[in-house]
Amino acid sequence: MTGMEKNRWPPGDLVIWIFIMAELLVFGVFFTAYAFTRAHNVELFDTYQLTLDRNAALINTLALITSSYFVVRAVADIRADDSRGCFRWLLAALGMGLLFLVVKGLEYKHHFSLGIDLSTNTFYMFYLSLTFFHFLHVVLGMVILLAVALKARKGGYSAAEHTGVETGASYWHMVDLVWMILFPLVYVMR
């Protein structure tokens, strides 16, 4: 990629992009359902939104953005034929993913200790479903990144052939992208 010529296809395997589009569609439906349900229950949503931990959400947003950036560096390294560098950046990205899971887990622990569940009210139903669905995607993304990282460590990728790295990277950025909308929508907008 010289920067001048444009590619016809996005980086990574085309099939992952079809998968990404499908995932974005599911999240899109979820976000829209949240927004329109809120419109019918403004008071309820605004009241319970205040019980969410915005600081935790900040840490998590920073964690995901940073993680995404690390993945960008991993891709840059493998394009320069640096497998070790690629592996290390992927490991760093995984660390950030782990941080996200821990912080989100603590948030859940707090809610559950108060006896909150899916049947408490519509706001919590959406909050728990949406964030947990995303949580599972972080887990899936980490599994993919881990597989890519292990292969990179064994020298399975090169500057000439690194579709796998780009495929994993594209999926991980999608997980990040979705959270960029989820964070303001559920935690901040009122």
Partner: protein
């Protein structure tokens, strides 16, 4: 046919088609009973005929899946089945048990059948689609376990391919979820809740894995596209099936007494269930367009493409029509459901089994790769007659359903059920006509096995592969 043990598939395929004919005959009987309520009464009451119609469908599809697996697994694993004799034995056990069960339905009243088969020892009878006597259910489990052992050990012994592993996953899921047929809680909500674990998680979960792997196998064989490419598609399709299909079970939980969040979970996730079917359509057409060679078995390719399209329409589009809970509030249990059921089962599962039979049967009967042109032309007539008539059956039932929903549930002065049934008679009559055309298509399909057997195989000489 590369491995001798693949031959056991033939028995399974023949039984599948035979039972398919039975299913359609009983379909025509209940179709007629929609028009003339006392048709064949009291010999074959509606509830019995309906039970036979649905049970035969499931049983013949299971025969088809097992036959497909016995053909496909050795070829993929590049080794003979470990226990072909067991596959043969289980075939006869399954066929006998199936036939005995159907005869039981037809010859004695259901309550008496329950007594005869000692249902009280482990009560499992009486639930829709799972009406089989407990002893039959136990038989199904034994057959399923032997089957899994057989293909599982073969896969372990031989080459491990993604297709084989996905198929094994689907078949294992099929067996595991069937175990919920034995769980019969007293609480009616829980009863329904777990009942769907069989019914939904089969057709909208693990069966789709079976469908995906068989489709992938046929496409590899007929198009010559790289296995790697096809496997990648299979991965994302099954990922999407699992993401949408498992929680999508929630669309059955709207009105049975489960917590309210199922309204949302069910609506959102099941609304996404068309996605994997759509991917399958794109996948099938893409692979055929990218084919490296033409395959002389045109009929098999037609079935494979047909299943990709019809599964998307029947399961995807017609499912979506009534899956959102505010819509389902009105359409639940109407002819809309029947419309969806017919096209989804035909498009997804009937057609994939027939695709596999179409691909494998010529080889099982000693051909090199394909039947004669004459036979294939007839088979394709069968394809079009059956497919077009199922489209019409679906459209007529949809028409009936829309009218039913309006008159019975939506209008300012809703009418009683039976009054509405009178008003939608025309649709039932048209559906029955389409049903007879379907039967003629099926008969032509069967005839295609017996014509042109002395003529030479179809060839691809002179055909050009588009680049």
């Amino acid at each position: 046919m590369k491995y001798k043990s693949q031959k056991v598939a033939k028995l399974y395929f023949i039984a599948a088609i035979g039972l398919f004919v039975g299913q359609i005959l009983f379909g025509l009987i209940i179709g007629a009973q929609y028009i003339w309520g006392d048709f064949l009464f009291p010999e074959i009451p509606f509830n019995v005929a309906r039970m036979v119609h649905t049970n035969l469908l499931i049983v013949w599809l299971l025969f088809g899946f097992m036959g497909a697996a016995y053909y496909l697994v050795p070829e993929e694993a590049e080794t003979d089945l470990v226990m072909p004799w067991l596959a043969n034995l289980m075939f006869w056990i399954f066929l006998t048990a199936g036939a005995a069960t159907i005869l039981g339905y037809l010859l004695v009243p259901y309550a008496q059948l329950a007594e005869l088969t000692k249902n009280e020892l482990l009560p499992t009878m009486g639930r829709e689609f799972l009406e089989q006597p407990t002893i039959t259910k136990i038989g199904i489990v034994i057959v399923a376990l032997s089957f899994l052992a057989n293909i599982g050990l073969t896969i372990l012994k031989g080459r491990k391919t993604v297709i084989n592993l996905v198929l094994l996953m689907g078949m294992t899921g099929l067996a595991v979820f069937f175990l919920f047929a034995f769980y019969n809680p007293v609480n009616v909500v829980l009863d329904k809740y777990y009942w769907w674990w069989v019914v939904h998680l089969w057709v909208e979960g693990v069966w789709e894995l079976i469908l995906g792997s068989i489709l992938a196998f046929i496409l590899i064989k007929t198009t010559g596209v790289d296995r790697e490419v096809i496997e990648k598609w299979l991965y994302v399709i099954i990922a999407m099936v699992l993401i949408t299909g498992i929680i999508g079970t929630g669309h059955h939980y709207y009105w049975i007494g489960t917590p309210a969040f199922w309204q949302w979970w069910g609506s959102i996730f099941s609304a996404m269930e068309p996605i994997p079917f759509f991917m399958m359509t794109v996948f099938a057409f893409n692979m055929v367009n990218k084919r490296r060679r033409n395959h002389p078995n045109k009929a098999a390719v037609l079935w494979a493409l047909g299943t990709a399209v019809m599964a998307f329409l029947g399961a995807g589009v017609w499912g979506f029509l009534h899956t959102l809970s505010p819509v389902n509030y009105y359409t639940h249990g109407t002819q809309i459901t029947a419309a969806h059921g017919h096209m989804a089962f035909y498009g997804a599962y009937v057609m994939i089994v027939l695709a596999m039979i179409s691909y494998a049967m010529p080889m099982l009967r000693g051909r090199e790769a394909a039947n004669s042109t004459k036979s294939q032309v007839l088979e394709m007539w069968g394809f079009w007659l059956m497919t077009i008539s199922i489209v019409f059956i679906t459209l007529f039932l949809t028409g009936a359903g829309i009218l039913q929903v309006y008159l019975q549930r939506f209008a300012d002065n809703p009418m009683p059920f039976m009054v509405v049934q009178e008003k939608i008679q025309l649709f039932y009559a048209l559906r029955e006509i389409a049903g007879f055309i379907f039967l003629s298509g099926l008969l032509i399909y069967i005839v295609s096995f017996f014509v042109g057997s002395k003529e030479p195989e179809a060839t691809i000489e002179g055909e050009v592969v588009p680049t």
